[in-house]
């Protein structure tokens, strides 16, 4: 079975610090979400993952955007790029890049969850016929997507998966598992189009999101709960999963 082959030292160098595991959940009310999914092209996808994870075949590149107008962190917009994988037999998404537009929120998310989010302009706009999202940094577009042909779905038709991301935690270098909980009131599926993608700007110059899969727009409350599990990045999850007390 394919397992990740990313160099652990490089992986460790880029990992943010998490000085303490968050001890209380964070609920963000009325979040507008856009998620656009593309299949990755090219061989060697295992090099994107640490040895503790397995890539799916194909690997999905998941661009997730959240627009939050109010709540404990104030107004902010977040963009994340995640890659589909398995931790042991469990479906997971490896979070490889985060951007936040809104400094207090960025600082709080980085401190509490070690997202390692960079400051950038993140835009998400929703219309009746399409949704658009964009991340730009210093006037350069890192990613721009839009999703058209919206089709109403039941909120239960959407499937979410825990993300994992590397961080230097009190337990050492670990993949921190975030099991975000979604209480949604509206959901629509659409067809995604990747208008622009600067792989180098995401720090992953070989990444080639190629084939559109699906997108969805949803509205609802999102809760980032306390961290319950971390996983060692160097061994498979059966051996390397640790509970956070």
């Amino acid at each position: 079975m394919l397992v990740g082959t990313a160099d652990l030292e490089t992986f460790a160098r880029g990992a943010p610090r998490l000085d303490a595991f968050p001890d209380s959940p964070l609920t963000l009310p009325g979040v507008e979400l856009l998620q656009a999914t593309f299949e990755l092209a090219g061989s060697g996808v295992e090099s994107l993952f640490p040895p503790g994870l397995h890539p799916t075949l194909p690997v999905l590149a998941v661009f997730a955007f959240w627009r939050v107008d109010q709540g404990p962190l104030g107004a902010f917009t977040l963009a994340q790029l995640r890659l589909s994988c398995r931790s042991g037999a469990r479906p997971r998404q490896l979070l490889v890049s985060s951007f936040v537009d809104g400094e207090p929120a960025r600082e709080a998310l980085n401190t509490c969850f070690a997202f390692g989010a960079r400051a950038a302009r993140v835009e998400l706009a929703r219309f009746y016929d399409r949704a658009e999202a964009r991340v730009s940094l210093d006037g350069r577009t890192l990613v721009a997507v839009h999703a058209g042909a919206p089709l109403p779905l039941a909120t239960s038709d959407l499937q979410f998966f825990a993300s994992v991301h590397p961080a230097h935690t009190p337990k050492g270098l670990r993949l921190v598992q975030i099991d975000a909980e979604y209480a949604l009131t509206r959901a629509e599926r659409g067809k995604p189009v990747l208008d622009a993608f600067d792989a180098a700007g995401f720090g992953m110059p070989t990444l080639r999101p190629a084939w559109p899969v699906a997108s969805f727009v949803a509205i609802g409350d999102v809760t980032l709960p306390r961290v319950r599990f971390v996983v060692r990045p160097d061994v498979l999850a059966f051996e390397g999963t640790e509970r956070v007390s």
């Binding site: 079975m1 394919l2 999914t37 299949e39 397995h54 799916t56 075949l57 194909p58 999905l60 589909s84 398995r86 042991g88 037999a89 469990r90 479906p91 779905l153 039941a154 038709d157 959407l158 499937q159 998966f161 959901a187 599926r189 084939w211 899969v213 699906a214 969805f216 059966f238």
Partner: protein
């Protein structure tokens, strides 16, 4: 009780030259032995693009080889994916009829709609449509086999009047099945009068509920053709005189299969849709409590699994029989984890010690 063997034809990495051929040749040797030992059916799935998990993309060819090398065992073409981008219904009917002729009337035809994005996405199939296309296929196939000429005006395909040739040997036509993964599909099977080919692990309790519902519902079915009222389940088989050896070896096989299965990209993971209600995990996961709600016994083997010494396996299958299951199909290996000689010995021991404890039969 009918016993079958079931092939995904998993191929372990690295994909060295010859490894796929070895997997196919091992399987054919197992089929020849199973035929001689009195097993009832050999099933082969249809999967595409599922690296390692299943390299069985042309099951009709594999099953033709099986038919040509055996005398009694029935060949289960199961399941054919019933979506036009993969298989036009006329081609399904034609291939099935040829296989029925070449095997001397030994064909069972399973139907399915595929559960992974790897496959559906690879053929650019809209997951929203697969239930509809499956329904259209299973109504059309019996007519193609039984009517001299037929025409069809449908949603997923249409055709002017033509003779679909050849016709199958079995009259009125080969038994039809549908693979059952998610709860509820057994009712789809019952309502159409076709067999319930379990390919998902279910606990005794869950299977009993499904079987009871199936037999109740099929009494008032609208049959698509000749009624096939049979329920078969999928299992693993590793039989050894030494229960500890059996457990160790069988659980390794089961764990590897479960892990490979867990790495498939299921449709719902990629594509939000109402047409796929669950992740449709087809296999037990690794570990001693591999199946949801399915407790393990002291050996660590989940309930109902045909892994152990002959006595344990007889007990497990007797339980399946008591809840109304008509047949059990066995996976004999996964990723070639068990050496071929041991697989063959497990089959022989099963035939010698376990089979005699069960009456042979076609079910209903």
């Amino acid at each position: 009780m009918r016993f079958g063997i079931f092939y995904e034809l998993s191929v372990p990495r690295p994909f060295a030259p010859g490894v796929e051929r070895t997997v196919y040749e091992n399987a054919l040797e197992q089929v020849r032995l199973a035929d001689a030992l009195g097993f009832d059916t050999v099933w082969a799935v249809e999967h595409h693009f599922l690296e390692e998990y299943s390299h069985c993309s042309a099951p009709e060819l594999f099953l033709t080889a099986c038919a040509m090398q055996t005398k009694q065992i029935r060949v289960g073409h199961g399941a054919v994916v019933c979506v036009p981008a993969m298989n036009h219904p006329v081609r399904v009917a034609e291939r099935a009829a040829v296989l029925d002729i070449l095997s001397g009337g030994r064909l069972e035809l399973g139907t399915a709609r595929s559960s992974t994005w790897s496959e559906l996405g690879g053929f650019e199939i809209d997951p929203d449509t697969t239930k509809q296309t499956w329904d259209e296929y299973i109504r059309a196939l019996p007519r193609m086999w039984t009517e001299e000429r037929m025409s069809w005006q449908g949603t997923c395909f249409s055709m002017p009047e033509r003779a679909v040739l050849p016709k199958p040997v079995q009259k009125p036509h080969p038994p039809l099945w549908v693979t059952v993964t998610s709860p509820g599909t057994e009712l789809d099977a019952a309502e159409r009068g076709i067999g319930c080919l379990g390919v998902a692990a279910a606990s005794y309790k869950e299977q009993e509920r499904r079987t009871r519902e199936y037999h109740r519902r099929i009494q008032s079915c609208t049959p698509v053709g000749a009624v096939n009222e049979n329920v078969a389940t999928l299992n693993f088989l590793y039989c050894h005189e030494d229960a500890a050896v059996a457990t160790r070896t069988g659980m390794q096989m089961m764990g590897l299969f479960g892990l490979a299965n867990a790495h498939l990209l299921f449709t719902r993971e990629a594509y939000p849709t109402r047409a796929y209600g669950s992740l449709a995990n087809l296999a037990p996961g690794p570990g001693p409590r591999g199946r949801e709600g399915s407790p393990a016994d002291a050996s660590g083997v989940p309930e109902g699994m045909a892994i152990g010494d002959p006595e344990r396996i007889i007990r497990a299958i007797k339980e399946w029989e008591s809840i109304g299951v008509d047949g059990v199909n066995f996976l004999l290996n996964a990723m070639e984890a068990i050496p071929q000689a041991q697989v063959l010995e497990s089959l022989r021991l099963f035939a010698r010690e376990v089979m005699p404890a069960f009456a042979k039969g076609r079910g209903r």
